[in-house]
């Protein structure tokens, strides 16, 4: 996160105006002055909780046992009482979360707390409790279970924050702030992005595709009012006695952007291929002419499987793996065979107007990288960009054929949404 001197001054002014009386007001004030985008908010909240903790030290009251905590939590969940839930999180971590006894190896664990408290097992009990209390059969009550599940998730987050605070008191805030706060969505490594971060990632990727689309459109607009058509300008100047009063601009035939995506969907890049699906989907929504091919060790066109707006990357990956013919004999990726087959089967559909994006880690499983096929593809199209989800330092290690491919086509390290964003603006300067 970039916070400059200007923001610091603003934040100080904000604190001076707002005072320290109300913690939530202070939080919002600091957020307004320090943040610039929505995605930064989760990081800010976690750090804020560390530096402006709700309380210090252990809770005043003696910790209750597990059963009484569960009972009270059930009540809090049924009433949706946020204040009580926060307080219970504090007590639960204190009673159940501590481990170790010697200084240096002891601490507080959110995982252990939740493992012992098992809030998710309260679901049925709370549901029945609420049903029995209320009139209970209205339409909205069929949503009850989901709502309760969400409240339990909320409680888990509260426990995590509390454990982080307790650890920070022992180990020092700076260390914890650096280690234990998850990065913003645009810095998450695609290869390791979990399911829960995918939704966040989508919110980051979607605008990127739009950015790509608008950039291409802007370029075309600009090109359309670019060069002067000398012949027609002279012709027009005849009516004004040879003085070219009105320059005539060259009209360009509008060209549809042709995009071909070639995606590795094998298991070794599963995190990345989820992201690939997001990107493919987003591009497909924005561009009219995108052809998408997927491969593991065979290539198949999957453009037809992408319906506009079907927004479920995980499901999409499964559909592709189920419906397209991507493997033969074995399930591991083979770039050489796949690229060869692509060049052979679809080579003729590539034109000098096409831009090809290859998405994959270039790990050939010791197979032949088939550089000739890449050379042939690159020769037929305008540009080939290879997006590699592995860090540059790993290229060429083990079975990676990245350096060989990079010698032929432009290969870019693309591990996070931020890198992808930079890439888009670099590849397509307005």
């Amino acid at each position: 996160m970039s916070v400059g001197t200007g923001e610091t001054v603003d934040a100080a002014e904000a604190v001076a105006v707002l005072g320290f009386d109300d913690r939530e007001v202070l939080r919002e004030g600091l957020a307004a002055t320090l943040l610039h985008t929505t995605g930064q908010r989760p990081v800010f909240d976690a750090v804020f909780d560390l530096y402006f903790p709700r309380s210090v030290g252990a809770p005043g009251r003696a910790p209750g046992d597990r059963e009484s905590l569960r009972d009270r939590l059930a009540d809090a969940l049924a009433d949706n009482d946020r204040g009580l839930m926060g307080q219970l999180a504090v007590e639960a971590v204190d009673a159940l979360g501590g481990y170790g006894s010697s200084p240096g190896s002891d601490g507080w664990s959110a995982h252990q707390t939740l493992e012992r408290l098992r809030p998710q097992t309260l679901l049925a009990r709370v549901r029945d409790d609420v049903r029995s209390r209320g009139a209970g059969t209205g339409f909205a009550d069929r949503l009850l279970e989901d709502e309760l599940r969400e409240r339990i998730e909320e409680f888990r987050a509260l426990v995590a924050a509390e454990a982080r605070r307790r650890v920070a008191e022992r180990r020092g805030r700076e260390t914890i702030a650096r280690r234990a706060v998850a990065p913003t969505a645009d810095r998450v490594d695609f290869l390791y992005a979990g399911r829960d971060r995918l939704a966040e990632l989508r919110r980051t990727v979607q605008p990127l595709a739009r950015k790509l689309a608008t950039r291409l459109a802007a370029r075309r607009r600009r090109a359309a009012r670019g060069a002067i058509d000398l012949r027609r300008t002279l012709r027009a100047s005849l009516s004004t006695g040879g003085v070219p009063v009105r320059p005539v601009l060259r009209r360009r035939r509008p060209v549809r952007p042709e995009l071909v995506l070639l995606c590795d969907v094998s298991g070794s890049v599963s995190g990345f291929s989820d992201f690939t699906m997001l990107l493919v989907q987003a591009l497909h929504d924005q561009f009219s002419k995108v052809r998408v091919f997927a491969f593991v060790n065979r290539v198949d066109e999957v453009t037809g499987l992408l319906r506009h707006g079907a927004a479920d990357p995980a499901g999409l990956g499964a559909v592709i793996r189920a419906e397209a013919e991507l493997t033969r004999w074995h399930g591991s990726s083979d770039y050489g065979a796949a690229l060869g087959e692509f060049a052979e089967r679809y080579g003729l559909t590539l034109t000098p107007r096409t831009t090809v994006f290859v998405l994959g880690d270039a790990r050939t499983n010791m197979g032949d990288p088939n550089l000739a096929a890449v050379r042939e593809i690159a020769g037929r199209v305008r540009r080939v960009h290879w997006l590699n989800p592995e860090p540059r330092s790993l290229w060429g290690t083990g079975d990676s054929a990245a350096p060989e491919y990079a010698g032929l086509v432009a290969m870019h390290e693309c591990r996070t949404a931020r890198q992808l964003g930079d890439l888009v603006s670099r590849l397509l300067p307005v």
Binding site: E7, V25, G29, H36, L143, P207, R210, K211
Partner: protein
Amino acid sequence: MFTSVDDVSARLAEAGYLASPAIATTVFLADRLGKPLLVEGPAGVGKTELAKAVAAVAGAELVRLQCHEGIDESRALYEWNHAKQLLRISAGRDETWDEARTDIFGEEFLLPRPLLTAIRGDARKVLLIDETDKADVEVEGLLLEVLSDFQVTVPELGTVTATQRPFVVLTSNASRELSEALRRRCLFLHIGFPEEELERRIVRLKVPGVEEALAASVVRVVGALRAIDLRKAPSVAETVDWARTLLALGADTLDETVVRETLGVVLKHQDDILKAAAKLELDAV
């Protein structure tokens, strides 16, 4: 303009705008620090309404610049009234060129557009720059100048500086990344979907006559819809619309038939409607 954060919430509420604590705090800060306020968030959560409410509360004039692709300096800042200038020239036949020239670039022939209007004059003003992300990048440069110094330079007249700083609200749906420079000039506020309790109060306020129980279940269902992955998640405007529709239909509780028949008020894509129907366990829609 305001004395405290609570004062902001109370007075905005009087103007018919129920603000979350985040909104109230940020508005208070923007007023105190004299900085523009950049508001982001999905469509229909009340970004524009916020500016209107602030104007109403402060008794200020609302100046609105609606951004769109291709908007330029003459639309945003000022224009010369060419037709009137020509009239003036042809009306005064006998004068010298120097007299005519100084004359036709006077205040009288200036057509102030929103940005200049907001800066000129002594009256209190709220400047709303709506959908900033729709404007081209060049306009952002223009805004930078106006928003950091609150002044505009008209070559023929000189520099116009604001005597009274307007309260500036910029809104954006994040369809384009705004430049870092612009963001740095502003306080940042993200308005998301409101908390359940706040939304219930909003529905009750905007749709008088709706029963408490109905409002509660409408808000709950909309909350559940937001949790599903939809193309267009319903926002507050849709919740209010739905409550209005239900009221007009005379439905005082939600049941399967009513929901099935009115789902189109909340969801705007057929895909979404199908997905929501599956989720809510409605029979075929």
